[in-house]
């Protein structure tokens, strides 16, 4: 049985393979003007799905724009946008069943919105108030929702990749017809967790979709300094899984690829790798200034490929949308987000008692003593601990 899956062709002179030996085409369905390529095979999409995708695009654009400016005003400490990558994120999420578990890296809040996370819930997390589902324990944008099958974001890079293999494997063992999808950037694909997670999924046959947003930069480091091979897709082939490279700014291509990836994963109990070629139009995070490492010309070139605009034009061409309704959707969300900011920043912060809960299922006696000592101390110096002192 050993090495049974290897090819048996023999040669009699030295002959090396290199990255050019792999021919990886890129799937494109939608053109920049909103028309589709001739002979393109369409994904499964109706008007209702298109409207849900469009609505998510608009909300996400508005959220990103407003929250980045809220961060600049000092109202929240940190923010990350997904501007330019909406088609990759929303197009893939729209291909899933709501019961499929999403393990995101950090830039995929559009997925959460697509699933129904409310504007108020976004704000509660970003303002770390007492309504935050995460109880104010993580930086802004580290969302999570059990109800929406979106696992809570972890800052360490790529750790979600082998976890996704485990989540998907659990579905398989439980006989559930669901997959796990895991998002990451091309930078994260350098971490050991990426290799461990893909190899395990391929060998153990776990229905996992590994979705790489190849967005050009890992913070400031361009792809040329991240990998020397044929992108990330070549690795999927190397690990023995179905692999596809798609135009990550093409909503229909991403949707089609992910719909078929999901079907394949379920039918064969097998993982699939999708490499979406896209571009991070925004900064890595609010702590980053991309003008130090890339040109305005480069950004301008990618703005021509704006995935949200391209999808809007397609909907207009189909008469499923008009410019006026598109514009009023932006207006509606601008107002909604602004109002939500004002409400969320006035909600009280989580109670100090939550400092010691959820470390283990129950606080240990040692931890209870530490909290009691802390409260005594705060009572003695209430002015030094204004966030907690009034509510002990």
């Amino acid at each position: 049985m050993s090495n049974a899956t290897l090819t048996n062709e023999t040669v009699h002179r030295v002959s090396f393979l290199d990255k050019a030996s792999l021919h990886i085409p890129i799937l494109k369905i939608l053109q920049a003007d909103g028309t589709t390529y001739e002979n393109a095979v369409m994904p499964v999409i109706d008007k209702a799905l298109a409207e849900r995708i469009h609505d998510t695009c608009v909300f996400t654009r508005v959220l990103d724009e407003r929250m980045l400016s809220a961060q600049r005003q000092g109202r929240i400490s940190f923010y990350m946008t997904c501007t330019g990558e909406e088609a990759s994120i929303i197009g893939s999420t729209a291909a899933l069943d709501d019961g499929d578990v999403i393990l995101a890296q950090y830039r995929e809040h559009a997925s959460l919105r697509y699933r129904g996370f409310t504007t108020e819930q976004f704000m509660n997390q970003m303002f770390s108030n007492e309504k935050d589902l995460g109880k104010g324990r993580q930086m802004p944008i580290h969302y999570g929702s059990k109800e929406l099958n979106y696992q809570t974001i972890s800052s360490p890079l790529a750790t979600q990749i082998p976890q996704a293999t485990g989540v998907a494997h659990a579905f398989k063992l439980q006989g559930k017809r669901n997959v796990a999808i895991c998002y990451f950037g091309e930078g994260a694909a350098s971490e050991g967790d990426f290799h461990a997670g893909l190899n395990m999924a391929a060998v153990l046959k776990s229905p996992t979709i590994f979705f790489c947003r190849n967005n050009g930069y890992a913070i400031s480091t361009p792809t040329e300094e991240q990998f020397a091979g044929n992108g990330i897709a070549s690795r999927g082939v190397g690990y023995g899984m179905h692999t596809i490279r798609v135009d990550g700014n093409d909503m229909l291509a991403v949707l089609a690829a992910t719909q078929q990836a999901r079907a394949h994963a379920l039918e064969h109990n097998a993982p699939v790798l999708i490499e979406a070629m896209t571009y991070r139009l925004g900064a890595h995070s609010s702590s980053d200034d991309p003008s130090g490492y890339r040109s305005k010309e480069e950004e301008a070139k990618w703005e021509q490929h704006d995935p949200v605009k391209r999808f809007k034009l397609w909907m207009i061409n189909k008469d499923w949308l008009n410019e006026k309704d598109d514009a009023s959707a932006y207006e509606k969300y601008r107002e909604e987000v602004l109002n939500a900011v004002k409400v969320a920043e006035k909600v009280p912060l989580p109670h100090i008692d939550l400092l010691i809960t959820d470390v283990l299922d129950k606080p240990t006696p040692a931890l209870e003593k530490q909290l009691a000592d802390l409260k005594q101390h705060i009572k003695k110096y209430p002015k030094s601990y204004p966030k907690s002192a009034g509510r002990i």
């Binding site: 589902l133 324990r137 059990k146 967790d193 461990a196 997670g197 283990l360 240990t364």
Partner: protein, 325 residues
């Protein structure tokens, strides 16, 4: 009660737990048909099928990450790391992920159904990559429980409790005792309470505290001390995190002296934590400084293993020094 060695007891515990919990899976390097390099999982694949007891590729970080994912999605996952020396590639997944799953999500997600089993410790001529005792790295991480049994009966009861505890657990197994420690083990299902130390022998002059394979050393040293007229109380901590401060403090208040023995290096070892806490709790009862008999601050050696080990002679000397302080 049947007589069995520690490996049989562990195998028995795994089998009982898998029988009772259809969602439980056991996996790791070579654990499938082969039964693990120490044979702890022997027969489980035959009994429960390849879906429930299986091999993984050689990737500790993968095993830990995969285990986190399984446990986060409703499974009871028991992952074997073949040697505790090789747990470090999995360190990030354990320390940043397993330990924080519940806390970071505000209790929306947890990996409470996860147990890592891993053989630790020396005394088998294994050199430094088959002999380490890395427990202290994990006791400093909130969100994990750390357990070390000392004999077959303890191993079975503690492992059953660990598998069913709603928190991620690292279960260190003293590999030196896998076959060497044989004893009566109750048949059927039973659990030993996590977080509770056991007073193995009562005494009046000094408290000897340890865990795992070092309990044998403490017992031998206590017999030597007894011949000198020194009465030792011996405590097995069993759970290092969270540890049973109450039982240890009560004993030290009675005896007035404490000696802690562990195989891991002295500096930054868990004995330091115990010493600091007991000094706080029992300052006025202490008749002598708290004594630590531990490994040296070197990598675990091969040829000078006997010299390195905190053995019964070193322990005996430390007992006398404490009593005669």
């Amino acid at each position: 009660m049947a007589e069995m060695n520690m490996l049989h007891a562990i195998n028995d515990a795994l089998s009982i737990a898998m029988q009772a919990d259809k969602n439980m899976v056991v996996f790791g390097e070579d654990v499938g048909h082969f039964g693990g390099v120490f044979r702890a999982t022997s027969g489980l694949q035959e009994k429960f099928g390849r879906d429930r007891c299986f091999n993984t590729p050689l990737t500790e970080q993968g095993i830990a990450g995969f285990a986190n994912g399984l446990a986060s999605n409703g499974m009871t996952a028991v992952a074997e790391i073949q040697f505790a020396d090789y747990i470090f590639p999995a360190f990030d997944q354990i320390v940043n992920e397993s330990a924080k799953f519940r806390y970071r999500s505000g209790n929306q997600f947890d990996v409470g159904g996860l147990t890592f089993r891993t053989p630790y410790g020396g005394g088998i001529a294994g050199g430094h990559y088959h002999s380490q005792s890395p427990e202290a790295y994990f006791t400093q991480t909130p969100g994990l429980k750390v357990i070390i049994p000392r004999n077959p009966e303890q191993a079975k009861g503690l492992l059953l409790a660990a598998i069913r505890d709603p928190n991620p657990i690292i279960f260190f197994e003293p590999k030196r005792l896998y076959r060497a420690s044989v004893g009566e083990v109750p048949a059927g299902d039973y659990e030993i309470e996590i977080g509770k130390a056991e007073v193995v022998k009562s005494g009046t002059d000094i408290t000897l505290l340890g865990w795992g394979a070092q309990m044998e050393i403490l017992e031998k040293a206590a017999v030597m001390a007894e011949k000198e007229g020194i009465s030792s109380e011996i405590i097995d901590l069993r759970t290092l995190s969270p540890w049973d401060i109450e039982t240890v403090a009560a004993s030290v208040k009675k005896t007035g002296r404490l000696l802690i023995n562990h195989e891991a290096p002295l500096t930054g070892g868990f004995a330091g934590e115990i010493a600091a806490t007991i000094q706080q709790e029992c300052f006025l009862s202490l008749e002598s400084p708290i004594s630590r008999v531990c490994g040296l601050d070197t990598p675990y050696p091969l040829i000078h293993e006997k010299e390195y080990m905190p053995d019964e002679l070193k322990t005996f000397e430390a007992i006398k020094a404490s009593v005669n302080y």
